[in-house]
C-alpha cells in the first residue's frame, strides 16, 4: 500500500474549506432570476421568499414590472378568479401584487420581513390586509419559528440608526422567542437595544459578516424554491375574467362563479372548503366562538411597530380590513359587538396617526358571495376590495403625513377595552 502523507489526509478538508469560503466570499451574486422566476415567486407563498431577502430584492427592483408588496395572511392564499393578482395581470394594470404572507403571518413577522426590503417601502405604495383574528389574547406560538429567519434579525439590527421606542418594544418581543433568546450572539445585541444601548462598532462588524453569510445562504436556497401556483391558478383565471376591466362585469362574473361553487351548505361557504373542513364537525362547531375576543391583544402593539416602520419609510399604504362571514359568525356565536369594537380599535389606531386610506369591508360579511369561507375574502369580496385597490394604485405614490404616537405600544393600549368613550379618550 502506498504510504499516505499529511496532504493525502488533510488536502480534501482544506480544499472543501477553500471552496466553501469562496462560495461565501465570491464578489458576484449566486443567482439570476428571470422575469418568470419573479412572477412565480409573487404568488408562491414560499417560506424561503418570505424569510429571505434575495427574491424580494429581485422583485422590487424589477424594472419591467412594478411589483407592489401585498402583506396579509391566509386570505392571500385564496387564489380564486377575482384575486388581486389575477386582476392586475389580466388587465395589464400598472402594478402586480407580490404576495407576502400566509396562514400565521401576523404583524411582528411582517415587521421583521419588512426589514429585508426597506427600499421597496421607502416612498412606495403597499397594500396591507388586516385580519381581526390576529388580535387574540394569546398568540399561538407556532408561526414564529416557521417564518422567522436570523437574516431578519440581522437586517433589523443593522437598520437601527437611532434606537426608537419601537425598536425597544420589538427587542422585548424578540427576546421572548427561543430562536433569539437561546442564541447567545443575537440575545446579547437585542438585549442591548431593549436597554437603549447602541450597538458597538465590533457588534456591527460581526453583524456585517453574519449578514454576508446569511445572505449567501439565502441566495443559495432561493434557487431551490419553485412554485406552480402561477400555472395552476393564475393562467386558467385569465380565460374566465371578462375582457374589459369593468366592475359591473366583474361582479356579474364573480357571482356566477360563486353560485356554482356554493351549493352544499347554508353558510354560502365554498363547497370544497365546507366538505373538507366543516361538514365532519359541524355539530361541534355550533356556538364554538362565543368566547372569541379580539379586543385586547399584544398584537395591537406589534401592529404599531408595523405602522411606525411605514411612517419612517413614508410608505403610501392602503389598509384592507377583512369582514367575517356573518352567517357563519351567527352559527358559531361570534359576538358582533366584540368584532366591531375590535375593528374600531384598529381604525382608531390608524386614523389618529394619519393612516387614512382604509378599505373597511368589515360590514360586508353578510353580502352574498363576499366571503369564500368563514373568514376569508372571496369572489365579490375581492372585487369590492379591488374598487379601492385599483384607484389607489392608479394615482401612484402620494407623499404621506403620518404622526406616530408611541403610546400605541403601551400595555394600556393593548389592554384597552374599546368602547367609543375609551377610544376617544386614548391619546
Amino acid at each position: 500500500m502506498k504510504k499516505r502523507g499529511l496532504w493525502w489526509i488533510f488536502g480534501p478538508v482544506v480544499i472543501a474549506f477553500v471552496l466553501v469560503g469562496a462560495l461565501f466570499l465570491a464578489p458576484f451574486s449566486l443567482n439570476h432570476f428571470s422575469k418568470k422566476d419573479v412572477r412565480d415567486a409573487s404568488v408562491s407563498f414560499s417560506k424561503n421568499v418570505y424569510k429571505g431577502e434575495t427574491m424580494k430584492t429581485a422583485a422590487f427592483s424589477d424594472t419591467s414590472k412594478r411589483y407592489v408588496p401585498f402583506f396579509g395572511s391566509s386570505e392571500l392564499l385564496r387564489l380564486d378568479t377575482m384575486h388581486p393578482s389575477m386582476l392586475a395581470n389580466k388587465y395589464h394594470r400598472n402594478y402586480q401584487p407580490f404576495l407576502l404572507g400566509q396562514a400565521g403571518t401576523e404583524s411582528l413577522l411582517h415587521y421583521l420581513s419588512m426589514q429585508e426590503m426597506l427600499p421597496a417601502l421607502h416612498k412606495k405604495q403597499v397594500v396591507f390586509v388586516i385580519s381581526q383574528q390576529w388580535f387574540v389574547k394569546k398568540h399561538a406560538n407556532g408561526a414564529f419559528p416557521i417564518f422567522y429567519s436570523p437574516l431578519q434579525t440581522v437586517d433589523w439590527l443593522r437598520n437601527i440608526k437611532q434606537i426608537s421606542p419601537t425598536d425597544r418594544y420589538v427587542a422585548g418581543q424578540l427576546l421572548k422567542q427561543p430562536q433569539i433568546k437561546d442564541n447567545g450572539l443575537y440575545a446579547k445585541m437585542v438585549t442591548k437595544i431593549s436597554e437603549n444601548q447602541p450597538l458597538s462598532g465590533a457588534d456591527l462588524s460581526v453583524l456585517a459578516v453574519r449578514h454576508r453569510m446569511l445572505l449567501r445562504e439565502d441566495e443559495l436556497f432561493s434557487n431551490f424554491s419553485s412554485s406552480k401556483n402561477w400555472r395552476k391558478y393564475v393562467r386558467p383565471a385569465m380565460a374566465k375574467l371578462p375582457a374589459r376591466d369593468d366592475n359591473g362585469a366583474l361582479f356579474k362574473e364573480a357571482t356566477k362563479i360563486a353560485q356554482s361553487e356554493t351549493t352544499n351548505n347554508p353558510f354560502k361557504i365554498k363547497d370544497s372548503f365546507y366538505r373538507s373542513r366543516i361538514q365532519m364537525s359541524l355539530k361541534r362547531l355550533a356556538g364554538s366562538q362565543t368566547k372569541f375576543d379580539y379586543r385586547q391583544s399584544v398584537e395591537y402593539a406589534d401592529f404599531q411597530a408595523v405602522l411606525a416602520e411605514f411612517a419612517r419609510q413614508h410608505t403610501d399604504v392602503l389598509f384592507v380590513i377583512q369582514p367575517v362571514n356573518q352567517r357563519w359568525a351567527k352559527y358559531t356565536g361570534l359576538s358582533d359587538k366584540m368584532y366591531y369594537q375590535s375593528v374600531d380599535k384598529v381604525k382608531k389606531q390608524l386614523t389618529s396617526q394619519g393612516f387614512n386610506q382604509i378599505a373597511d369591508l368589515s360590514h360586508d360579511g353578510a353580502e352574498n358571495y363576499f366571503m369564500q369561507d368563514t373568514i376569508h375574502l372571496g369572489w365579490n369580496g375581492w372585487v369590492t376590495a379591488d374598487e379601492k385597490i385599483k384607484p389607489f394604485m392608479a394615482k401612484g405614490y402620494k407623499p404621506t403625513n403620518y404622526h406616530i404616537n408611541n403610546n400605541y405600544l403601551s400595555k394600556d393600549w393593548q389592554n384597552l377595552m374599546p368602547t367609543p368613550e375609551n377610544l376617544q379618550q386614548f391619546k
Partner: protein
C-alpha cells in the same frame, strides 16, 4: 461567561481542533506533550461546567474526590486481602452517587439532583466501577492516582462515552503511536468527523428537529380523540428511532475522532446496528461500549455466580434470567420511569425469545438464504424501533399526561 457544550455547534470544533493542534504536531513528531494535554483538557472541562452550570462543576469535583478515595482505598485493601463483602461494599459505594441521582427525579428530591448531578455521571461511574471489578479480579494491581484522574476525566468522552477500559487506556496514554499508526488515526479522525457532521447536523436535524415535533403534534392531536391510538405513532416511532441513532452515533464519532487526534485509540460505539439479523447481534453493534460493559460486568458475572452457587440446573434458565436481569438493570439505569423499565424488560424478553429461536434453528432445518437474511434484518429493525418508541417516553405523554 463562555460555556461550551461538547460537540454542540461548529464553534466548538474550531476551538477544540485549534487547541489540540500543538498536541497533534507533537504526536506527529513522536512526542506526547502531557502537560499541554492536561491543561487543554482541563480548560475544556471547566468551560463545560461553568456559568449557569457551576453547580455541576462542584458536583463533579466532589464526585471525583469520592471515587478517587474509594478506588485507592479498595486497591490498598485488595493488595492485602480479598473478602467478598468488602468488594460489594466498595462497589455499592461507587454506584451510590449515581444511584441517588437516578432516584432523585422519581422521589422528587430536587436538591439531590442539584447537589450531586452533573452531565456524564453515568459514564464516570461505569469507568470507576469497572476499575473496582478488575481490581477484585486482580487484573489491576496498583493505583496510580495520576493515571486514574486522566482515565476518569478523559476530555473527549466525559459527557457520554464511549466507555473505555482502564488497562487499554493507560497503554495508549503512556505511549506514543508510531508515525505510520498516527497518520492512520488522523485519516480515520477526519473521516469520522465528517461522517459525524452528516449524522448529527444533517440527518439527526432532519429526523429530530424537522420531522419529530411535527409528527408528535399530529399524534397528540389524533390521539386525544382516539383513546391514545393513532397511525401517527408509526412516523413518530421511526423519526424518533432514527434521530436517536444519528444523534448519538454522530456524537460518538466526534468523541472517537477527537481521541484519535490525541493519539488514543478509543473503541467505537456503533457498527451499523440496523443491519443486525437478530437482537443479540443488535446489542453487539449498538452502543457497543455500554453493552459490552454490561455483558462483561453484569451478565457474565451473574451467570458465573448462578453456576457457581448452583441455583438452577438448566443452563438455559441461567442465561435467560441473566438476560432479563441485565436488561432490567440497564432499563433502571436509564431512569426510574415505567417506560425505561419496560424498555429494559422488552429487550430482556426479546433476547430470551431470540435465544430460543437460535436453539430451534440449530436443531431443525430452517431455510437460510438472502431472502431470510433480509427478512431477519427487517424484523430486527422494526422490533428495535418499537422498543425505541417505548424508550422515547412519548407514550407516557400521549397516554398519561395529556
Amino acid at each position: 461567561m463562555l460555556n461550551l457544550q461538547p460537540y454542540a455547534d461548529p464553534k466548538y470544533f474550531v476551538f477544540l481542533l485549534l487547541a489540540l493542534a500543538p498536541l497533534a504536531i507533537g504526536l506527529y513528531f513522536g512526542k506526547r506533550f502531557v502537560w499541554y494535554e492536561v491543561v487543554v483538557s482541563l480548560a475544556f472541562i471547566i468551560l463545560m461546567f461553568d456559568g449557569k452550570k457551576y453547580h455541576e462543576g462542584f458536583a463533579i469535583i466532589g464526585y471525583m474526590i469520592w471515587q478517587w478515595l474509594l478506588v485507592w482505598g479498595y486497591t490498598l485493601y485488595r493488595q492485602k486481602a480479598n473478602r467478598g463483602s468488602v468488594f460489594y461494599v466498595a462497589t455499592a459505594l461507587a454506584i451510590l452517587p449515581l444511584f441517588l441521582v437516578k432516584l432523585a427525579p422519581a422521589a422528587h428530591w430536587t436538591h439531590v439532583s442539584t447537589l450531586l448531578g452533573f452531565m456524564g455521571i453515568s459514564y464516570l461511574t461505569f469507568r470507576s466501577v469497572g476499575m473496582i471489578l478488575e481490581t477484585r479480579d486482580g487484573s489491576i494491581k496498583s493505583f496510580d492516582p495520576w493515571l486514574f484522574l486522566r482515565f476518569m476525566l478523559f476530555m473527549p468522552t466525559i459527557s457520554s462515552g464511549p466507555i473505555d477500559r482502564y488497562r487499554r487506556f493507560t497503554k495508549d496514554i503512556t505511549t506514543v503511536p508510531t508515525r505510520e499508526k498516527y497518520l492512520e488515526m488522523l485519516e480515520k479522525a477526519v473521516w469520522y468527523f465528517f461522517l459525524g457532521f452528516l449524522y448529527k447536523f444533517v440527518l439527526a436535524y432532519i429526523f429530530g428537529t424537522l420531522l419529530l415535533p411535527q409528527v408528535e403534534s399530529f399524534a397528540l392531536a389524533a390521539g386525544s380523540i382516539h383513546h391514545g391510538w393513532t397511525w401517527w405513532l408509526i412516523p413518530v416511532m421511526y423519526s424518533y428511532g432514527l434521530d436517536l441513532f444519528f444523534d448519538f452515533a454522530g456524537y460518538s464519532l466526534f468523541a472517537v475522532a477527537t481521541s484519535y487526534v490525541m493519539g488514543i485509540a478509543l473503541p467505537m460505539n456503533f457498527d451499523k446496528p440496523f443491519l443486525s439479523k437478530n437482537l443479540k447481534e443488535f446489542w453487539n453493534r449498538w452502543h457497543m461500549t455500554l453493552s459490552f460493559w454490561f455483558r462483561d460486568y453484569i451478565f457474565m458475572r451473574l451467570v458465573f455466580l448462578m453456576m457457581k452457587k448452583k441455583w438452577f440446573k438448566s443452563k438455559v434458565t441461567v442465561s435467560n434470567l441473566a438476560y432479563i436481569a441485565n436488561m432490567l438493570i440497564m432499563g433502571f439505569w436509564h431512569g426510574i420511569t415505567w417506560y425505561y423499565i419496560t424498555y429494559g424488560l422488552f429487550h430482556g424478553v426479546g433476547l430470551v425469545i431470540n435465544d430460543a429461536w437460535l436453539r430451534y434453528k440449530k436443531k431443525h432445518h430452517v431455510p437460510h438464504n438472502k431472502f431470510t437474511e433480509g427478512l431477519a434484518i427487517f424484523i430486527t429493525f422494526n422490533v428495535v424501533m418499537v422498543s425505541f418508541l417505548l424508550f422515547s417516553g412519548f407514550l407516557d405523554k400521549l397516554w398519561f399526561k395529556p
